[in-house]
Each structure stands twice: as C-alpha cells, then as structure tokens.
Symmetry: C2
Subunit: 517 residues, 2 copies
C-alpha cells in the first residue's frame, strides 16, 4: 500500500473514520486512497475554516477526533481560526496537511510556505512524515496525541511523495492515556474549604459540564450553600429539564465580577481561574475578587468528574442534586426582538437537540429561555474566533445523524464560513440555521464604548455597520442549496422553525432582529 | 494623541491612506481614531481574506501599500492565504494586527495566540510596538519595509494598551530604498549570450511585465531572434493593442517544457528560474532544459526595467518593438463553452480595464481572445492560494475608481472569499464579476490524473464535484447586495456583460460553462 493508504487505514483502525476535506493537488493521492478504505467517510468543505470547525464540532459530540485534509500552508492558514477555537475547547483534531514532495521543496515553488511555523502556533502536536514507511506510525501517534487528556490539535504534515510512495503499513492504534487522578488529599483539602463557613464559589469547565459533573456540583452546592458557575464558553454543555441548571460565568467582566462578588474562596475544576476576555483601560484582567483564594481541585488533564464526585461524596453524602423542572416559555407574538426570539426557541426546541450557539449579543437572553426545555447540548465559541457556529453545526450533525442540530448564528459571524451551508445541503444534514440578522457588528458597538474610545464618529460607526447593503441570508442559503425563509415576527419565526423541524434536512431562517443595544 | 492616532497619522503622511479592515475589540481605538484623521479611508471587509486580498490588489494598481486592520492571531490566520499570494507577488502590504494589552497577555485569555509565529511565516517584516511613544516610528518603518524592493508584507503588532495610551507622535516617512543597479558588466555579458548564435529565451517577471519592460524585451527578441516569455503568474501584466504581446510560460510543466524546448540559454530578469508548480512522480521539478545555461540579468530587487532597456540598447539599437494590432474576436453564439466565453470577453472588454483573473482551467483560452483588445492590466493568482480573485478586484477598484474592473472567477475558488461581493456593493465599486460556474474543482480532476493516482473511484470523484447541489451565484450575489444575472449562452453573456458595463457599480454574471475537460 502507498503512504496515503496506510494513513487512512491506520486512522480508521484508531476509530477516526470521518475526514473533513478541502484538498488540492498535493493531496490527490490521499483523495484517491479514500476508495480503497471503504470505512473512511470523506466530507467536502468548500473552505478550510468549514473543515476545521466541522472537525471540532464532530469531536465535541462523537468524543473522538475526525481528520481534516488541508492543502499546504495556505490551507492550514484558512483553517487556523477554527483550529484556535478547537485548541481552546481541548478538542481532539487530527489535521493532515499535504505538502510539496520532499525533493520539490528546495525549488521554492509558489505554494511553498512555512507550514511548521503556522502549525506550531497551535501549541499542540506537530510532526512531518519523512518516509512512506513512517506514515502509519506517525498517524497512530497523531491520533493518540490528539486524545491525550484534555485533548489537543495534532497536525501531521504529509509530503506528496511520502503519500504516493510504496511501502506503507497500517499501524495498530496507541491506547490514549487516561486522565491523571488528583493528588491524594486534594479532595479533603477542598472539602475543608467548603466547610469553612466562608463564602465559596465552584467554577467548573471541560468534562465537568456534562451530566455526571453537573450532578456532583449540584449536590455540593445543595449541601454547602456554595455558589457554582460554569466557565463562560464551555465546549459542550449538557442542560435542560432533568439536569441541574448551573449559571455560566458572564462574558462581560462586569457580569462576572458581580457573580463572584463577596466570595472568599474559588474552587476551580476542569478550567482555569477566570480572566477578562479582553483588557479594558483601568480595569483588572483577573476576575477573582481581591482577597479571595483560588483552590484548584482538578486541572484540565485530571479526572475532573471523578474529583467532583469524590468531593460530593465527602461534603454531600446522601444529598441529591437539584434538577431543572420542565418548563417552556409561552410562544410570543409581534415583531421580533432580542427578547422574544429566544422564547420561540425555548418554546419549540425539539427533544435531544444540539445547539451550536454563536449568537453573540443577540443570544444574551437565550440560556434562561431554554433552561427548562428538553435536554440538549450547547456547543459554544470557545476561542473567540468568530465564524465557528455553522461549521461546528456541520460536524455535530455528521457525528449525530439522529439528533436535530440547531445553529443559532449571528449575522456578522456567519459570513466568515458561510459556505458551510453548502455542506449542510450536500450531506443532507439535519441542521436548522437561524441567522440573527441585526445588520451590525453589535458586539463591537458595545465594545467601542467599553474600551473608552474617545470618539465614535461616522467613520468608526461605518466599520461596525452591516446595513449598507443589508444582507439577505435566505437568498445566500438558497444559492448554496439550502431551503430558506425570512422571519420578521415571532409568529413567522415559530411557524418556520416548526416547519423546519418537521422536515429532516437543512433549513435556514433569516430572522430579522433589532440589535440588543 | 494616542497610539492609534499616531499610527494612522504616520501612515497617511507616508501615503498610506486606505485601510481595509475587519476589526475586533482590541482594535477599537484604531477604529475610533479614523474619525480624527480624515485622510484615511476605512473599507470594511466581512472576512480577513477579503481584507488582505484587497490590500494586495490595491497595491498592485496604486503602486503603494494599503494598510489592513486584523483582529489578533485568528484574524491574521484568516488573512494568511491572501498574504501568501501578496508575498509571492512582492506586493507591499502594511498589516496592523491588534493584540491584547501587554499586561493582559500573561492571563492567556481565550483569544491569546502566537501572532509572531504566524506573522513570521510570511518571511517579510514583523515588529511589535512596545510603547505608545514608539508607534509612529514603528509605523514609518513598516511602510518603508513594505516598499523596500521588490516589496513585501510588513506586519505591525499593536497591543491594545499601546494603541489607547497617550504620548503618540506622528513620524515623518522614511524614503524607500531604490532598486539596486545590476552589476557592472552584467548587461554586456548577457548581450554576448544573445549574440552567441545559440538558441536563447528571455524570461521576465515583476516590474518588467509593464510597458517599458515589455517594449525592451520586444526590441531584444526582434533584433536577436530570441524567444521571450513572461513568468506564469505575474502580479500585474500590461497587455492589449499597442503593447508587445509576449507569451506567458504555461502552468502545466508539460507546456513550459514544450515552450522552452531546444534552448541553450535562459536569460532571467525580475523573476526566478522556472520550476514546476507541483511535483509529479517521475517528472523533474526544474523546468530549465537539460544542458541549458541560466543567466540572471536582474534579480527581483534590481532595477529590472533599467537592465532590460540597457540590454536592448546594447543588442537592438535602433530596433523598434513589435506592437500588438487591435483585433477582437467575433461575438460567438450558442451554449456557453470553455471556448466561446473568452471570445465574449475579448469582443467586449472595455477600454482601460483591469482584469482580476482567477479562472483556473476555464480561462486557458483567455489570453489569446484578449490579446488585441484595448490595453488593459491583468492581475493573476501569484501564490496559488485560491480565493484571491474577488478580493484583488475589490482592492484594484478602490485604487482606480475611474477604471472598469472585470473579475473573472472560477466557481470553486470564489467560495473562499465570497463576501468580497458585499464590499463591492458597500463601496459601489465598478466591478463586473463573471463566475465560471462548471460545478467542479475541474483543475483537481485534471491533477488527479496527472499525479498518477492509481484509482479515481466514486469517493475521490465526489470530493472534486460541486454539483450536488449546484450553486446559484446570482442568488448568493443578490443576497449580498450585488445585482446579478445568469447566462447559459454566449448571447446572454454578451448581453449581460454589455449591460453591466453600461451601468457603473458592481454586477455579477453567473456563467454556466461546461468543464474544459
């Protein structure tokens, strides 16, 4: 078998059987090899940001990595923003980046570039395959590295001649390392903090944001009176009726400061001590209240859920978690607002849904409206690099073909990776996209004030305005093969959302919503 | 003045008065400062690949850099592919990349990433401004570095607090360095080669692809019988009636090998010795015929035109260049084909046009059809990173508002940076986009065969197919505010192209063309 065949065979044997691809000439042997390994599914994206974001969304739901196939340095560059988000989500991703044949690199042909430098910026795992005989072992190492707790982006650079050369062998999977157990005594030490009588908050992230972790935290808060918060942008948050509802820490430093005010101890598990998303003149970056002490129960690569369960058993033996009752908002009426569109979603969210949430300012009121909806997963913008929502929805839908995926997507952010819609159509994915079309970079209007910029004259405001011309996302979606409608009232949104849910496959609703501010 | 104001003032004083921008929170003081320096024009792009490609197109026509404004590492990543093309075009570009405040970086906030590594991969000029007092000098240095022959990408990283801090000063421009003169005796030595009686070809690139260089080369070939070729992907090529017509070296190694067959000497000026775009199993990467000698008349940072003119005076004193006669194809009729669509363009190309050519396979026959059309500029895909054509057209139109811009754009490539159309509408740019919609990555179908891939089964072919679903670019364009039509016959294309030319402002024609192969 050639190098490409050994690569794909090794990936499949390690459980990596989906490849989101945007190939070029240097990847043609990989493409040809897909037909010789029937277990590998190739999913075409028309832009690398779609490919990498889809791989992120896929792994958040599947619990194992997908591969990507990217064309040299520029292809990796186009995929970099969503790989940044994957890095921040600790998502396992296996990038395969094609490169020029090894003997061709010295000629500095037009597409030659410093792939190692760009891949290295992701601070994950990077290796170049130097010979066909090595490809299988390199691929097995890449998968294991991607799954090494807490998960990371692994990038394998595959020169064309290494791919087309003969002498490849499939290599057996390397079992991924288990998360570390927390140090002996750590749970007891943190339990002492909870018993101290002083105000305590617990901040959780990563794996703790799913059922087992949430139940453990709810037991802890019920027994001790501590507050609990979820990190601002969890990779995957389970929520809805029957699960504990735990508030997320706010995006705005002002919100988070308010939420944490008065605490003397912050117990952190599966995330980092909270910091401001951006710096602002004269405001602190560290969001831990002055004088409060931070206690790390479990680092990201620890068995976070196990630690929380042990802590719950220590301080809350026999105490049950507090579970969210089923409740939905009433269906609202009238012109769409930042308030009522979330009520429509809360009222109509289907069972077992996956929400890809990149609503930015428009979604501020979403968590409350959906808290008592049927149980669902929420995938958020972990790294702040906008243009993630539609690709993540793509990958989630590939990972869970039996679950409805709801992409709630701000208009400005949607444009970065809009061709994800074509892949929704191509693969007939059950994704309902709702564009929150407020014709503005509304979050930047807010930020322009928050950073204390002296003026906001007409030229500054023009750079934050998307209304000249207004975009018609229904037309854009139809142009890419996705059936689409436009909603300007709550009734229209409800009717169109119901219709989209009633018919499997992709739909888009262009919801014209005024800016929150 | 604050750092942002000193930056913009310094840029404007150095002649950099257009900024293509896709800002975020860390760039809000730059955005606010635009209103305090009225000479700076801010042009919003909805994706960073549009911003960087526009800066490339702008500078190719304006002969001076534009600035870009990009949001931290992910924004630079999104812009990287078109910066790669700019690097290969030796286009001067001044990137301003916002970063977290210096005191915020240690907190590793979600958008923190290794900007230096990504910027460094462009192998141009990179500097981080460390204090507000330095910003003016850093900006002046960035502009000078970008213009240093033959031109490069300069990236200035601007932390938010350096931008918002007080104590900035505008700094006077640094005069850019002039190109080196070629070494004494070099012209005479090359003249001897031309007089040797052996078969010679001259290969030119860079600045030599404009009128003065073309005339000099035409005199040389007329006097000596040498062949002449233009590099495969020139950044800016002047051509049409009244100028010498010089053939471009083919993209396919087979073509280039045929063009250069039989020569004993290759004289190179303003470009590099030719190499294959990609490597292919068993085929050479170096396109210089075996046994032929390469003579470099002028490196890229030399006075290439001066050297060619001196060489022409040496070997072709009194000889006039051979100028292209005006001639246009007849207007064709019938269903669109790869043959007849180029005849429509050749027949109807307006005076003084700028063509942004990313037609890939569909445009193989374009050069002949437009050779005798009115004089025009052609901007090509210099670095092979697709998704350049619509952004380059954007920048060219901003640089030359009095010239019609024609974006001839392959369908697959268009999707990478499709939101450039919104900027065409926003700025009311006189850009007529013709999408060559063949519903395939047709070039990859060809490459799949050329690389000698063993199979091309259904899964491989599916990854090169854009027909399920077919895209409707007219709807996509209308969704972004650009009036659009669809053409399936030569008559429709002619009628729609004429109508687009008759009305200033952006238009798009979705031309449904069968694949060439």
């Amino acid at each position: 078998m050639n190098g490409a065949q050994s690569l794909i065979r090794t990936l499949v044997d390690a459980g990596v059987d989906v490849c989101f691809a945007n190939p070029g000439t240097s990847e043609m042997h990989f493409v040809a090899a897909l037909d010789s390994v029937p277990e590998m599914r190739g999913v075409l994206g028309l832009f690398e940001g779609v490919v990498t974001g889809a791989a992120d969304g896929y792994a958040r739901i599947a619990g194992k990595p997908a591969a990507t196939l990217l064309h040299l340095g520029p292809g990796l560059g186009n995929g970099l923003a969503n790989l940044h988000n994957a890095r921040r989500a600790h998502t396992p991703v296996v990038n395969v980046v094609g490169d020029h044949a090894t003997h061709h690199k010295k000629y500095d042909a037009p597409l030659e570039s410093d792939i190692l430098a760009v891949a290295g910026s992701l601070q994950g795992w990077v290796r170049e395959s130097h010979s066909t005989a090595d490809v299988g072992a390199d691929a097995a190492a890449a998968v294991a590295a991607s799954m090494d707790p807490p998960g990371r982006v692994a990038t394998l650079i595959l020169p064309a001649d290494v791919s087309w050369g003969d002498g490849g062998t499939a290599v057996a999977p390397i079992p991924p390392r288990k998360p570390h157990a927390v140090a002996p005594g750590k749970v007891q030490a943190v339990a002492e903090v909870l018993r101290s009588g002083e105000p305590v908050a617990v901040l959780i992230g990563g794996a703790a944001c799913r059922e087992a972790g949430l139940r453990a935290v709810s037991r802890i808060t019920a027994a001790t009176g501590a507050k609990a918060f979820i990190e601002t942008f969890p990779a995957r948050l389970e929520r809805g009726a029957g699960l504990p509802t735990i508030e997320r820490l706010g995006y705005l430093a002002e919100q988070a400061t308010y939420q944490l005010s008065g605490i003397k101890h912050l117990i952190v598990a599966g995330t980092k001590s909270p910091v401001s998303f951006f710096a602002y003149p004269g405001k602190p970056s560290d969001l831990v209240p002055e004088g409060a002490q931070v206690h790390t129960l479990a680092e990201l690569d620890h068995d976070v859920v196990g630690a929380l369960e042990a802590l719950a058993d220590e301080v809350a033996a026999g105490v049950e978690p507090v579970l969210q009752e089923a409740r939905r908002p009433e269906l609202p009426s009238g012109p769409l607002t930042a308030q009522n569109w979330v009520e429509v979603i809360g009222a109509l969210l289907p069972e077992n849904a996956i929400i890809s949430d990149e609503t930015n300012t428009s979604g501020v009121l979403l968590p409350n409206a959906t808290a008592g909806a049927p149980r669902h997963d929420v995938l958020t913008l972990t790294g702040g690099a906008i243009g993630q929502g539609l690709p993540v929805a793509t990958g989630a839908a590939v990972a869970a073909p039996d679950r409805p995926v709801i992409a709630l997507q701000a208009d400005g952010s949607a444009l970065y990776t809009i061709s994800a819609l074509w892949t929704h159509a191509r693969e007939n994915l059950d994704v309902t996209t709702v564009i929150l079309n407020n014709s503005a970079y509304a979050i930047l209007r807010m930020e322009l004030q928050r950073v204390g910029a002296e003026s906001s004259g007409p030229k500054a405001n023009a750079l934050l305005d998307l209304s000249k011309p207004d975009m018609d996302f229904a037309k854009i979606a139809e142009g890419m093969g996705v059936p689409a409608t436009r909603a300007t009232t709550a009734e229209e949104l409800a009717e169109q959302f119901r219709a989209a849910q009633a018919e499997p496959g992709p739909h888009l609703i262009d919801a014209v919503v005024p800016p929150l501010l």
